[in-house]
Amino acid sequence: MAQPVNWDALLARLAARVGEETPPTITEVDKSMIRAFADATGASSRVYTDEAYARGTRYGSLIAPPAFVSTFVIGHMPDIFHVADGLPRILHTDDQVEIHQPIRPGDRIKAFARYAGARRKDGRQGPMLFQSADLILERHDGAHVARVRIVSVSF
């Protein structure tokens, strides 16, 4: 039996968490990680896997596919999202992503997530909790790499 949710208390508690950040992780990206991602997703362009070919393109080196930004999510999300009593199921509903720089082999990427907010929405199956958080990716030289806003729904 699902427990009743005290929405006012829940939303107040989550509003107090806005701005909270996860401890940063540092990942050194190498060619094999990019190749494994390209192979697993069926990304067919040689700019992801063929070093000699990629050098001759406008990128000048191998790059990671755009959705590679998702590989930094782990350790930050869904952990940053609150799992509420009475709303045990949580699904990913939206991503809003800005890519400032392609990720290349040799990049050391710092990643952390920042809690962005929570709201209630009433759906056909009852009230649902929407939460959002931003994953921020920065390169070792301080360059902004990407911002990934992820929205989840609990019901």
Binding site: A36, D39, T41, T57, H92, D94, D95
Partner: protein, 136 residues
Amino acid sequence: MKPTPKTGDALPVYEREVTPEQLVRYAGASNDFSRQHWDHVFMVENGFPGVIIHGWFTFTIMCEAVGRWLPPEEAAISSFTVRYHRTHAPGLVRCGGEVVSVDAAKDGEVAVSVWAEDGAGNKTTSATIFLNRYVR
């Protein structure tokens, strides 16, 4: 080089069969080992018919549909928004889309509306993907 895309141009439909084994491969490559994508019993206990494709995995297939039409050598994806409308079970992923704008003020930035549907024709995922034709 590909001719400059125009608003209303359609992307060729791209289809792929996704197997449960590919979900495990994707989990490894993306570090996303959420049980929704490999633990059938867990999903049934939580009211789903079975495991589901990672939302980001579906999105990578939508990116491949775009890349086969306008390859990364010619245009870089600079931003995107993705909405997951419903879960997508392993099986067919069918993607298509169209150009929704070409912004001359932004060096010809192309916005493409892309969708993915499952084998039953349910639209599971939609995205707007912005591409810069000139890499800075």
